[in-house]
């Protein structure tokens, strides 16, 4: 039936595929931290247990065990005990089911570090910052990088001799190292921009002009540090794609025909663009990862900062919540790009249908 609708077929197969990846990501996200880590309750008890007498400590521990779903609970919410009165530990499979159902409801559990604050609360506060920083930066870097890469391939000359090695050097530098350089140069040495934070420390987030201008002021350095490097990285890929396109017959033929230069550039650009679109999808994960560390350098109040504090404080629920969310975002972005490619490139759909 679907044979007659190649586009729909393409979208459905992609959707199914990404769903499978999503399941795998959830499984990895749940089981990896539990491979070596000790019982999270031990960690939290070390924090709160001091100063409690044993009976109170035990009660406290059991209430935590219950809250983190580590013990078997009967219908009334009482902890099931074995003969010696010890709580029965829940199997990892049961814990996993519980984790999945809770995550589906948007509940990522309770943070250890900021107990009793919910992980989803912390993430909700952080995510607008991350999106505001990374979405425009990565998209803009991608566009500018591609234009520069095409120019380098077509014009050669200064673009190739100067910008290309520069882009390669940028590519060799981690996002955060470049961020550190910028902070040191422009914030510490020259006092041009603020070194850390997403807005001035004495302000409270609001929709007032003072706050927004302060946020923009704080935005510039982290923006530059991600933008310049990702533009460079994309330019390198686009350059070699365009050089490849320039060697093909249709370009040579167009040149012989005397087609106008900007038209040839347009043809070349359009054809070299498709693989770059796939490239954007595939490198999103890397870019998001790199940009997360940039947030740490700038103490930008986004997800990267949450991950950092979570890692430093062994806050497993927060780590897991953040990593799961980042994975989901990257998967969604990849999926959208894949669908866009399906619409832009008829060959992709045809290839799917012919199989």
């Amino acid at each position: 039936m679907l044979k007659r609708y190649p586009t729909l077929r393409y979208i459905l197969s992609k959707a199914g595929w990404y769903f499978l990846t999503f399941i795998a990501a959830v499984i990895i996200n749940f089981f990896l931290p539990r491979m070596g880590a000790s019982n999270p309750v031990d960690i939290i008890m070390a924090k709160v247990g001091a100063g409690l007498d044993t009976q109170a400590a035990i009660e406290k521990e059991e209430s935590y065990l219950k809250e983190f779903g580590l013990v078997e609970v009967d219908k009334d919410g009482n902890i099931i005990r074995d003969e010696s009165g010890k709580p029965v530990q829940a199997s990892s499979f049961k814990q996993f089911i519980r984790y999945v159902t809770m995550s589906l409801q948007g509940d990522f559990g309770t943070s250890f570090l900021n107990y009793p604050k919910k992980v989803s609360e912390i993430i909700l506060g952080a995510i607008p910052w991350t999106i505001a920083l990374q979405l425009p930066t990565i998209v803009l870097g991608w566009i500018i990088g591609n234009v520069l890469g095409a120019l380098a391939a077509y014009r050669r000359g200064i673009f190739d001799k100067f910008f290309f090695p520069l882009a390669l050097l940028g590519n060799a530098m981690p996002f955060f190292a470049f961020g550190m350089l910028l902070v040191w140069l422009f914030a510490i040495q020259m006092h041009l921009f603020p070194a850390i934070g997403g807005y001035a420390g004495d302000l409270i987030p609001s929709f007032s002009w003072t706050f927004i201008s302060s946020a923009i002021y704080h935005f510039i350095l982290p923006f530059l540090s991600i933008f310049l490097l990702s533009a460079g990285g994309q330019a390198i890929g686009m350059r070699s794609m365009c050089i490849y396109e320039l060697g093909t017959d249709y370009i040579k033929y167009a040149k012989w025909l005397g087609v106008k230069e900007h038209k040839i550039i347009f043809y070349m650009f359009r054809n070299a663009m498709l693989p770059q679109l796939t490239g954007l999808a595939l490198s999103l994960g890397g870019m998001v990862g790199g940009a997360l560390i940039t947030e740490m350098i700038f103490s930008y109040p986004g997800l990267g900062m949450s991950v950092l504090t979570a890692i430093q404080g062994n806050d497993y629920p927060l780590i897991q919540g953040c990593t799961l969310l980042v994975t989901i975002c990257v998967l969604i972005a990849n999926f959208s790009v894949d669908i866009a490619i399906g619409f832009l490139d008829p060959r992709v759909r045809a290839g799917q249908g012919a199989k």
């Binding site: 595929w17 990404y18 499978l20 990846t21 795998a24 990501a25 990895i28 996200n29 990896l32 931290p33 539990r34 491979m35 070596g36 880590a37 000790s38 050669r156 090695p165 390669l168 050097l169 590519n171 060799a172 530098m173 981690p174 955060f176 190292a177 550190m180 350089l181 902070v183 040191w184 510490i188 040495q189 070194a195 070699s240 050089i243 490849y244 060697g247 595939l282 994960g285 890397g286 998001v288 990862g289 790199g290 997360l292 560390i293 740490m296 350098i297 991950v307 950092l308 890692i311 430093q312 062994n314 497993y316 780590i319 897991q320 990593t323 980042v326 994975t327 990257v330 998967l331 990849n334």
Partner: protein, 278 residues
């Protein structure tokens, strides 16, 4: 040999090799002339460079140049080991999938596609944070290697699949050569230059991954690496104190080694792929 000649004629390649040799001698030749000691505090915290301590001291008063030398050695070790693991795993899986086809190909493809979209940093964070104790340099290299093989697999698979239908492979099959023989003798040989370039890139990305994972505080506990130096500098406010010697040299070293490898890779690509030549 002709390839080597062509390479030596490329100034870009020479530049990359010189830079690489320079960084390597920083790690392995400089210690012959400079007393490396990363254990004892020899001065006050964040002492600026002096004749005695060429790059000053870190936040504990440990000699910075010693830390850098030993950190570069660790980073090179991690990069190399991660590069070897990723290249071998990726090449082997890619060769097998491309040559075999059928369900083996589909399965390997599925796993590859799966791990290619899950952000590598997420995997690194999850694995490293679960291994709280005994996170050695080798373990980190293994983790990085096992999370970056996917690109290699995908690329090698495509190459192997295109070589598969060539005449000499059919001839080898008719002669009764085993799968292993065909894979290594008749396909891998054709891809050797490609695999070598992949290895260079994997090593560079291994060094960068190590610095990233150490930067967020999930680095090795037992040794110094360029990433842990940066992490310490960031944590102990080297930036705001203006102690540039605590992070700038480390940044330069990371960039230099990765840049050298990228340049070498890029110029090799130019020689192996004539289309890229002007």
């Amino acid at each position: 040999m002709k390839i080597l000649k062509n390479l030596l004629k490329t100034p870009f390649f020479i530049f990359g090799v010189v830079l690489l040799v320079g960084t390597l001698s920083f790690a392995y030749i400089l210690p012959l002339f400079y007393h490396v000691d990363i254990k004892t505090c020899v001065g006050a915290p964040y002492m600026p460079p002096s004749a005695e301590h060429w790059l000053g001291t870190d936040h504990m008063g440990v000699d910075m140049l010693s830390l850098l030398i030993s950190g570069l050695q660790s980073s090179l070790y991690v990069g190399l080991l991660a590069g070897i693991i990723a290249t071998i795993t990726g090449t082997f899986l890619g060769l097998y999938a491309g040559f075999r086809g059928g369900w083996q190909d589909n399965t390997i493809n599925m796993v590859t596609n799966l791990f290619i979209v899950i952000p590598q940093l997420v995997l690194l964070i999850l694995i490293s944070s679960s291994m709280k104790e005994g996170r050695s340099l080798t373990l980190i290299a293994v983790i990085i290697g096992l999370t970056t093989w996917t690109w290699t697999t995908r690329a090698v698979r495509a190459q192997a699949a295109s070589i598969k239908s060539r005449d000499h492979i059919s001839l080898a099959k008719v002669n009764g050569a085993s799968t292993i023989t065909i894979l290594f003798k008749h396909i891998l040989m054709y891809l050797m230059s490609y695999v070598f370039m992949v290895f260079i890139m994997q090593t560079a990305s291994g060094i960068l991954s190590e610095s990233a994972i150490s930067m967020i505080g999930l680095g090795p506990f037992d040794t110094v690496s360029l990433g842990t130096i940066l992490n310490q500098a960031q944590r102990n406010e080297a930036l705001t104190d203006g102690a540039w010697w605590a992070f700038l040299p480390a940044v330069v070293l990371i960039a230099a080694i990765a840049f050298a490898l990228y340049v070498i890779n890029q110029s090799m690509e130019g020689v192996f792929n004539p289309r890229l030549r002007k």
